[in-house]
């Protein structure tokens, strides 16, 4: 009788151990929480699902016509060729943005994040995506007739196969990028006679 009890106890312990250890992480399952109420508060976080809004996104789009703080109107320049020509003819670098060392350093960092993979770190159009033959025909800044206005316009609205980067870089950052692109262009110009056309950096 005692033996049978022992065997039963051992079996019970073993199965309990198995049960506990089965709470491990699985690929598609996040696992268990001790106190879910403390982990998921009632406040709606960004990227939470939220069914009360139609498509269950917690981050809603701002009301149409919302103007963010520090917003610079750009409406007079349309996304098409006319707007491009207008930006080229009349847009000027705002007064507050100077090409000092600190700004250029920041601009270089921005350029390396947002532009290098296509335009290349020297702006010759030989970024890694071009070398990997994902994108083709990215022009060198040196070959294009560009100024601050056109660069701002192209970053804002895109041109050709380049999409609009307005959601990723603020207007101020766009001006800084414009400074850096023009610097790359001017770095290129005097070397053009010595460097063979199409050579890489």
């Amino acid at each position: 009788m005692l033996k049978r009890q022992l065997v039963k106890n051992i079996a019970l312990l073993l199965s309990a151990g198995l049960l506990i250890s089965s709470c491990k992480q699985e690929e598609n399952h996040r696992g268990y929480q001790y106190m879910p109420d403390m982990y998921d508060g009632p406040a709606i976080e960004a990227y939470d699902g939220y069914d009360r809004f139609g498509d269950s996104i917690s981050s809603l789009k701002p009301v149409e016509g919302t103007v963010s703080r520090g917003f610079m109107s750009y409406q007079e320049y349309s996304p098409d060729a006319d707007g491009y020509a207008m930006a080229k003819a009349e847009m000027l670098m705002p007064d507050g943005i100077m090409a000092d060392e600190k700004t250029m350093e920041e601009a270089k960092e921005l350029y390396n994040i947002f532009c290098t993979h296509c335009h290349g770190d020297k702006g010759m159009g030989q970024g890694i995506l071009v070398k990997n033959e994902k994108f083709l025909g990215v022009p060198s800044y040196g070959d294009r007739d560009i100024n601050f206005g056109t660069i701002f316009h192209v970053i804002t609205y895109g041109k050709g196969v380049m999409g609009s980067h307005a959601s990723q870089v603020t207007p101020e950052e766009r001006w800084k990028l414009a400074l850096y692109v023009m610097k790359l262009k001017s770095d290129m110009t005097p070397k053009e006679e010595t460097t063979a056309e199409g050579s890489v950096e």
Binding site: Q25, E27, G31, F135
Partner: protein, 399 residues
């Protein structure tokens, strides 16, 4: 292709373009491919059959300076300009007649169906996985075979000695009875079971709420290995909010479209996965335009890294002020085909990093004032860790 060429020869005279195809290809990729593909309309029309649509002289004039051609009143030139809503093709005065000839030769040669040596649709050869289960089964089989063999041997020996034969089951029964009668064996056995049980209990409780290696399937098989690894796109390009905000944002579909308006086919899944972006945002890859009045649907990415509501974490604070690499917490993202949670994200893990990480006070204006005070407190050459600037204060993360 040839068939179409023969058909359209009635409209435009059959034309010979015997140029250097290789030179044409490099010129095309350098000068034209930003807006034109051979087989598909991108920004400008597909050019694979352009030589059957237009005359040689017209093409020369158009490519060199299309604006001049339009101003001369050429009806075709004005028509194509209007068809593409007045988007302007730049003039290429630098291209010689020979260059243009080479490019046009390439448009003919490049759009001929290629002889495919290796079918790209063939499934990738599956690499045999290092799976131990088969080996374990073989070992188990050998052991069972040995047990049976030894039982036979034992019974044969018993028969030789003239003793009674017992089966395997009877042997086992006798063995268990004897063992359970022995208090030492029972004690050792019970201890063993208790230790295993407690260990499993401890390990089981320790992983509750720790989601390391959580790797959910995502709605689109987006590969960080391809984007951040092979193509070296900066993390901040897509997750542009990490530099400025509490959250590192999941890129919205317009960011995908910055590249995938042009790149419509991936190396692994072809058009299948990229088509899911188009389905979400309403883009027609055939015409290269967005469908009007399309009901856009959000792409429901599955969240992986999730801190509890009781802990505050700010990305900008770490990425911009602290200059922490994304990989420090997220692991080798550039090698992950599918992202998994690399770090445990437990409090001990946070604290440990705050203790060890040295703050780069010198090249960061943010710490200028603070640095002077810290030098007074810890001496001029002390290495400042996050702990020393209050990184272990409870209220820093819990409030």
């Amino acid at each position: 292709m040839l068939f179409i060429a023969v058909l359209s020869a009635s409209t435009v005279q059959a034309q010979e373009f015997t140029g250097d195809v290789a030179n044409g290809k490099s010129l095309f990729n350098g000068q034209c491919a930003a807006c034109h593909k051979l087989d598909k309309k991108v920004v400008g029309p597909a050019l694979g059959d352009v030589t059957t649509r237009r005359s040689k002289e017209w093409l020369y004039a158009w490519i060199k300076d299309n604006q001049a051609l339009r101003e001369s009143g050429d009806a075709d030139a004005i028509a194509i300009y209007e068809e593409y809503n007045g988007s302007i093709m730049p003039a290429f005065p630098g291209l010689s007649d020979d260059d243009i000839n080479d490019i046009l030769a390439y448009t003919i040669e490049g759009s001929k169906p290629k002889e495919v040596l290796v079918d790209p649709n063939d499934p990738v050869p599956v690499v045999a996985e290092n799976d131990n289960t088969v080996l374990l089964y073989i070992l188990g089989g050998i052991l069972i075979f040995l047990v049976l063999l030894l039982t036979r041997v034992k019974n044969t020996l018993k028969q030789v000695q003239g003793e009674g034969v017992t089966t395997l089951a009877q042997d086992a029964n006798i063995f268990t009875r004897t063992a359970l009668k022995n208090p030492r064996i029972v004690t050792v056995l019970t201890l063993l079971v208790a230790v295993v049980f407690l260990q499993q209990l401890y390990l089981g409780l320790m992983v509750v709420n720790v989601d390391t290696n959580y790797q959910p399937s995502q709605p689109i098989k987006f590969s960080h290995e391809l984007h951040a690894g092979t193509n070296q796109i900066d993390c901040n390009y897509c997750h542009s909010g990490a530099r400025k905000s509490k959250h590192s944002n999941i890129p919205s579909a317009n960011v995908c479209m910055n590249c995938h308006m042009y790149i419509q086919e991936g190396p692994k899944y072809g058009t299948e996965e990229i088509a899911k972006i188009y389905a979400a945002i309403g883009f027609d890859p055939e015409s290269g335009t967005y469908i009007e009045d399309y009901e856009q649907k959000p792409i429901k990415w599955v969240r992986i890294h999730k801190l509890p509501d009781l802990a505050y974490f700010n990305h900008a604070q770490h990425v911009t002020a602290g200059n922490v690499e994304c990989q420090t917490c997220h692991g080798p993202i550039q090698e992950m085909e599918e992202v998994y949670q690399y770090s445990p994200l437990t409090m001990g893990w946070c604290i440990n990093c705050h203790r060890e990480t040295k703050v780069d006070v010198k090249s960061n204006d943010y710490y200028n004032d603070m640095h002077a005070k810290l030098k007074e407190k810890y001496g001029p050459n002390a290495e400042i860790t996050v702990e020393m600037i209050g990184g272990l204060e409870c209220g820093k993360c819990h409030y």
